[in-house]
Symmetry: C2
Subunit: 377 residues, 2 copies
């Protein structure tokens, strides 16, 4: 049942668990560590596929919950999957829809079989099962499929966390069975998800159960759900250390420099978050000296780039003064430029992270980066 590993390690850091590598996927190789932009409705908000390619992204996300409800996975299947529908030539990772069912939908009711919910758009009733989540992602022709899982919030008690873990394991097995049964010659890769909330014994149990299923990749779910940074760091380190060397490791929902660097240090290869694009639309721009809020009057006549250290197209060609003007006028171009910059900033951060690992100085790089990033010039 086991198949050839899709992950190849390139370099390992001597002083931490950080590593670089390559994930082989149907739409090309993905160099890791990698930050993946989120394209909820099959578009990264305000950023064209050409801009994503120009920045250098090799993989982006799309959200199964949203696309299943609208326009529907059968329409996307007929369009040739997400690639045919959107024109994006790199890889797509799709989530299972579970997280959004729990966070967005109404009247959800979970059973061993799956989860009943009402659409947040029109109130229509749906029943998402692990098998349906796989079928939807098959229709999408996703390069990476995520299993349907049950994520518990920060503060959940051990009993609820255990129940969620047990469902997650059972659903992982059903997801894998469906995926093997239906994939034909299609090469999308299924990732299992380790849950267990913030209980180490549950994390260990979940990791053991999920790893036994030998999915091509493994995700750590249920982190960055409201917990303090130290708790995140501790559970991340504990859980990541349980994962095998030969599979890509993915932490879901991570998108700030601090969280990304912590994940990398613990050997995580993949992460995604809406944070860089969502905050961009609200006027927050990443810089080497920490994020700035472009709406501030101090930037009104600032003819310098968004980030003096950044070489992205936006920083090469536009001033803070112009960006602020666009923001103050609610111009769409602001969302376009700010989203582009924030994504380019994270992409460049991760590229430099890879380089530092290969040069053997990741820990120094991390310390120096964070020291500047927190300096609030």
């Amino acid at each position: 049942m086991s198949s050839a590993s899709i992950f190849t390690t390139i370099a390992k850091d001597a002083k931490s668990a950080a590593r670089t590598g390559v994930v082989e996927l149907p739409h090309g190789r993905v160099r890791t560590p990698v930050f993946m932009p989120v394209g909820t409705n099959a578009t990264v908000k305000a950023v064209s596929k050409d801009s994503l390619a120009e920045i250098g992204f090799e993989i982006i996300l799309a959200n199964t919950y949203h696309l299943y409800l609208r326009p529907g996975h059968e329409l996307i299947r007929r369009a040739g999957g997400l690639h045919g529908f959107t024109g994006w030539k790199g890889n797509f990772l799709t989530d299972s829809g579970g997280f959004q069912v729990f966070s967005l939908s109404k009247l959800r009711k979970i059973s061993d079989e799956g989860v009943k919910f009402q659409s947040h758009i029109d109130g229509s009733r749906h029943f998402l099962t692990p098998e349906l989540a796989v079928d939807i992602q098959t229709a999408f022709r996703s390069d990476v499929f995520m299993q349907l899982d049950v994520c518990t919030p920060w503060g959940a008690d051990e009993k609820d966390s255990l129940a969620a873990l047990r469902k997650t394991t059972a659903w992982a097995a059903r997801s894998k069975a469906r995926w093997l049964e239906t994939r034909g010659d299609f090469q999308g890769k299924l990732f299992g998800i380790v849950q267990g909330n913030f209980y180490k014994e549950l994390r260990a149990r979940s990791a053991e159960e999920i790893l036994a299923l030998d999915t091509p990749g493994v995700a750590i779910g249920g982190l960055s759900v409201g917990e303090p940074f130290d708790v995140y760091a501790e559970l991340l380190a504990y859980t990541a250390a349980l994962l095998p060397e030969d599979k890509p490791r993915y932490v879901m929902g991570i998108g700030t420099p601090e969280y990304i660097l912590e994940a990398v240090q613990n050997g995580v290869d993949m992460f995604d978050c809406v944070f860089p694009t969502r905050t961009a639309r609200n006027g927050l721009l990443f810089t080497a000296f920490g994020p700035i809020s472009i709406k501030q009057a101090r930037y009104a006549e600032d003819m310098g780039p968004a980030d003096p250290d950044c070489n992205c197209r936006v920083c090469r060609e536009y001033s803070r003064a112009y960006l602020r003007h666009l923001y103050k006028n609610d111009e769409i171009l602001f969302s376009m430029l700010a989203s582009y910059h924030n994504l380019a900033f994270l992409h460049e951060l991760v590229r430099r992270v890879r380089y530092s690992i290969e040069e053997g100085n990741f820990i120094d790089f991390k310390r120096e980066f964070l020291s500047r990033y927190r300096s609030k010039l």
Copy 2:
């Protein structure tokens, strides 16, 4: 006082007043006839300067009223003018602010000296004179300056129309004096504006008075202000015929294929309108077979391009089904792609118009284009 003509005729149509030519401006030559996209706040909404250049635009508009109020012309002056502020490398034409004072501001009061008004943004009080309109456009380093004029609505009586005409002439003279006095070695070109509402004798008088001032270019104002198409066509033909061969002729506020083709047939060289980008954001896409409303259910599974005859990037790479999906989800990418397509469509229309004039078959081209455009496939 007269200076070398900035307009060179390339070809003249034998069967109409249509012509092609070149306008020499500080940021490069502009081939005419030309459609100019409108960038009200120093950005064409949802379209980057790189996309504008990719489509092939050589000149765009910006609005003096908006930019004077926010961020202010002195800031733009310090940023190096509109080119320094925005990064756009082609030409900028700026209006005088007058039209927006009349349509957007509160409590406007017009005198011989100028127009007092309150900002629609914050209620602040301002006094726009012909001299200030020139000074603002000097701060912008605009390639084409428009004089402050008084535009009357469809239905204005002859007395009001005459009063507006007289002010427009007087303000044209004051604009020219200020422009000559302050331009130094800067090469921005001032255009006078012919008014006169829909009274031929007033149009004739206005043309005579404005032409006597010998500005580098001449605009026909006060058309497309609510009148029926036939009235537009008649007054356009009458007024355009009064203008000299050796100056570029500009009709303000024209942006649909029917109006553009009519203007070209009467020897107009330049036109602008927010219509293609504004309607794009509302889901209307130009096609060779007439405009379509992408929200319609019939396009939900339409895997063809927005316009089967168009070769723009959007039509090459995206389907109607995907565009409709983006529209239904209020995705910014929809505004980006739809605006790009509508501008590319008009740019290509005007390019084909130029070609047809040079090939001697403009009237046939116009008839065939409109026959398909009105066929509503």
